[in-house]
Subunit: 353 residues, 4 copies
Amino acid sequence: MAGNTFGDIFRITTFGESHGPALGVVIDGIPPQIPIDTEDIQRDLDRRRPGQSQVTTPRQEKDTVEILSGIFDGQTTGTPLAMLIGNRDQKSEDYNELKDILRPGHADFTYLQKYGIRDHRGGGRSSGRETVARVAAGAVAKKILTAAGIRLYAYTLAVGSVKATTIDLSVIERNPMRAPDMAAAEKMVLEIERVRDEKDSIGGIIEVVAKGVPPGLGEPVFDKLQARMAHALLSIGAVRGIEFGAGFKAATMRGSQHNDPFTVKQGKIITASNNCGGILGGISTGGDIVLRLAVKPTSSISSAQSTVTVDQKNIQTEIQGRHDPCLCPRIVPVAEAMLAVCLTDALLIQKTR
Amino acid sequence: MAGNTFGDIFRITTFGESHGPALGVVIDGIPPQIPIDTEDIQRDLDRRRPGQSQVTTPRQEKDTVEILSGIFDGQTTGTPLAMLIGNRDQKSEDYNELKDILRPGHADFTYLQKYGIRDHRGGGRSSGRETVARVAAGAVAKKILTAAGIRLYAYTLAVGSVKATTIDLSVIERNPMRAPDMAAAEKMVLEIERVRDEKDSIGGIIEVVAKGVPPGLGEPVFDKLQARMAHALLSIGAVRGIEFGAGFKAATMRGSQHNDPFTVKQGKIITASNNCGGILGGISTGGDIVLRLAVKPTSSISSAQSTVTVDQKNIQTEIQGRHDPCLCPRIVPVAEAMLAVCLTDALLIQKTR
Amino acid sequence: MAGNTFGDIFRITTFGESHGPALGVVIDGIPPQIPIDTEDIQRDLDRRRPGQSQVTTPRQEKDTVEILSGIFDGQTTGTPLAMLIGNRDQKSEDYNELKDILRPGHADFTYLQKYGIRDHRGGGRSSGRETVARVAAGAVAKKILTAAGIRLYAYTLAVGSVKATTIDLSVIERNPMRAPDMAAAEKMVLEIERVRDEKDSIGGIIEVVAKGVPPGLGEPVFDKLQARMAHALLSIGAVRGIEFGAGFKAATMRGSQHNDPFTVKQGKIITASNNCGGILGGISTGGDIVLRLAVKPTSSISSAQSTVTVDQKNIQTEIQGRHDPCLCPRIVPVAEAMLAVCLTDALLIQKTR
Amino acid sequence: MAGNTFGDIFRITTFGESHGPALGVVIDGIPPQIPIDTEDIQRDLDRRRPGQSQVTTPRQEKDTVEILSGIFDGQTTGTPLAMLIGNRDQKSEDYNELKDILRPGHADFTYLQKYGIRDHRGGGRSSGRETVARVAAGAVAKKILTAAGIRLYAYTLAVGSVKATTIDLSVIERNPMRAPDMAAAEKMVLEIERVRDEKDSIGGIIEVVAKGVPPGLGEPVFDKLQARMAHALLSIGAVRGIEFGAGFKAATMRGSQHNDPFTVKQGKIITASNNCGGILGGISTGGDIVLRLAVKPTSSISSAQSTVTVDQKNIQTEIQGRHDPCLCPRIVPVAEAMLAVCLTDALLIQKTR
């Protein structure tokens, strides 16, 4: 309702501002007897953390997760699993000069319109840092998915006009772009460095694939699998669009091209092609679920921008601090986490049938 | 949970199959003392109805709405408003030959996988006819939006590669394509006729715009306005993608281009451009909300397609009956209805602040 | 949210006023492949219907259920099951004289305060007639419970100071009081006739028992089984209190008396006594669930009462028409229905573990 | 769904076990700009804390609340308010001997049946300690209620057969029983000491009153105010029954006695009496809301009890440690907190009308 909870059965509730004492998440509805190790979660948090390469910001905000409840003898008990990630290096005073400035592309203005009050330190609840709690929750969800034979892959498909031309899932974690194509990754890095030198930022495209999803997940009508996934993934701040399977290309296709014929393979009915992106009528087909996200260029740029203050004065502003010129590598683990939460929920809902 | 309810405060619950006695919707959470006339709803149902032009199917299934509850002396009472739309001309026997065939692009296979049973007559609950209940609910939502000064526009932006080049909102209802450009509309009709002659179908793009939305609607984090709208609109069967503002184009833009500077106009803070599509940080800016939908080509085509039967036999099938070669004109009122429901809900949620 | 939906997974949404065209219910989340016969539902509606004996009102409002959706070939399909019960013999003009009178014990005043408008004809949505939709939903829930080996019993335990002294479940449907004691039932009838002659009404107590409930249903903390059941049963208009197991008597008991020792019977752990009413820590023990409801005397009485009009004039009013002097026999099937819905929901939630 | 969240708009989600690192609560949907001081919350936690008098256990578990998010410059921001209360003095080893024993009256058996695993240390999530998070949330809710002119009072009405005979709200916090009658409080203390000497425990009755509730709160049908309140209050572990207004006494009353006539006082319509407990048709009348709770005797008693172990062996057990012989004084602040949360939610829901 107020937007800090996602999921019907596997429900995550997040809280925390970038400059408060901590961020966290409470997961309710988690099945009992799932083995959970802090290491499982820490690994994903480390993947999300900036300062890991030349294309991400050099801040060293090592995030350490603390599990507060819901685990006994290394297993979930069925009660809420709460996790806390403390904030460090909070220099709130750095933000005082931003107190009255409405930064272009940020939520400063809209929060003020909505609530009549805002925590201006580092974006408060609208900070990208909020996603740390999602990644922690996603790590737990992935334990359940893995046990069900479902594997998720997210990667940077394009940065500006530089596109991956091959999809090699094995190289994603071996380049700083999280691209599935080592050669393209090198060009992406060059593009990002050029953009940074020009005190600017650049958008990109992320692709997410779920393999091993059993047929039958998702609900007809309002909770179609693609609708729930779009809800989950468009809740990530910088995402401006989503498409499934053939996506926007379907707008120029013929039905005879776009329809995926059914066929039989090893005794099972499958679709021979996958323009539908693994979903028909809102329900999984058993094929790969494939979706793409449009990621906008980072709003924080260090070149001068025109804007106004809270009291309507025109000013020029330059956002200080170092920011990632392209958000894709940072969003990849968040997109994976949100898809994991969404699929886990769909998996548990299907058990009530 | 089971997917037939949408909304948190303004909640719509729909029911009914294409070949049962009736479809309907129950709206709960509707504020009291809203004047509602059956004519308001009938007008939108008539817009949705096929058989109105050369580009839609000639079936004459005039839909008549019956209000069962929630209205007294022409006004809402605050209790659930239930509406019923009867089915006519149900020739279930027409569908018997389809009983065992898994039609490409349809939900036949996935329903069977999900439930182990399916009503094969006309697609049952997955039929496009299900949207009639959404349009009825949307008509009620629009009464509330209109009173709040919010106006919605939906139109066909493209059919295949034929695109509208001007946006004239006044002509939308004056051409069978519901395009905002009379010249483009003519070309779209020609394209559709060509596709139909080839026993095929074609996709397209719909744009939806909301004007007069006050700043402050939408929730941060998981229920960002774009996330809820994506949920609402991707729940329409044929929609395969959605983008807001600059959308997928943002992936190739620079931050300096994409950021919308704030400025002051007539004493109010607004964004000078609208690449953000009227939403920042998940909350409305007060600018126009602009989104686009990718619509897939109609799955039902009359040319021969390869597929399999329930018992895994390979067959060729030709879908009988006349179907719209392009779904855009039919989906335009449904998209408008879903956006209306979504915005009404956001408007009521904001009252709790 | 707006109160016309109950349940998390097995969700019922009801609608309709006593003097509109129809009342109804939509059930979402119903598992597929449950055999449903209109007769199953009609039987429970017939039990609820007044005019069956000397202790209920002689109105002959035979209620006929129509199933609109969700059934195919005699089985549920997993899609929403909608049911309609038409209103007959609506003489709205009978109520015109009540238009401005705030009847003691009725919701006339509070609806007006809440909504600023009210449908005064027969109580509108607050009419006891609203419960017909609950009974229809309960009949469907009971099909699922029966398949799971769960049986429900509800009966009139007391009318005023006349109490059943034996509990013989086999006689409940054999006396007009729905009492589990034929001798007590006769005295109850005499008591009711006396009260009616005095143009008055009388309260009573209903007991509800669920047998065969497996251990493990219900959620800890806020959704304890007794909390959900209390929610379900106190939503019936005339119910003023609820107690589980030893109930209010527990307030004067010692722990050594009240604690139910665990013991082993036929290889299973059970409680040797049942002061806990079949629930410990909010979760079913496997023992009988036992609860009692306090039912207030009927608000509509034909003797003169002092009250005021909408425009604050003091008046005397006598409620015309014949009303049941004791609501217990009418509420027994409604209580059974609500418990059925609540337990079905708990049963389906437990499947997600 | 999984039971650790309560409320529709003002939503509280609690987590934590008695022997984990901490317990906590996340409040979502809290309106912005409510002044909150840690002291407001600490005061209520101190009231809940045991070890304050001769009738409660001498454990000195001083609970200190830490606010993690949602407050800026002393005011709520509209984002989730998370609070943490650390656990101290956890001697988990004390509980090892209880590992296999199914304590009578406790949730040991049912948790094991539900989840197949349980945290046996101190009752885990079923511990009374769980209520500390509710009290913290209630303190926040009371800030909103106070601003709306609503005041809550909860007190011990009876311990065993010792009853308060006068209701003096000013003395509640001046006696260890939290009774509204100083003379009765002395007798209650004597009764409790007697019971303790006998290594036993005793039940009691709590009354809760809400004054200043505006008319119009609560929803018709399933979310009647009494139904939601019963849900809230029966979610407290030891509560076995609830009644509103005349309650179970209504079962023996006549309609002519029980109906509260409407009258006009100082230009406002009110009920002249209050047998309805301030609620008609599920909606507040504007009169005092009055309800009573049956509290069972403490399950943990130090005299010998027969029971069985997890592996079905018969044993005798004596619960070690000091436990409150009567839970009423401890539950009074929890009941007040839950009513506060429930009413705050109803107040915010009504704003959507």
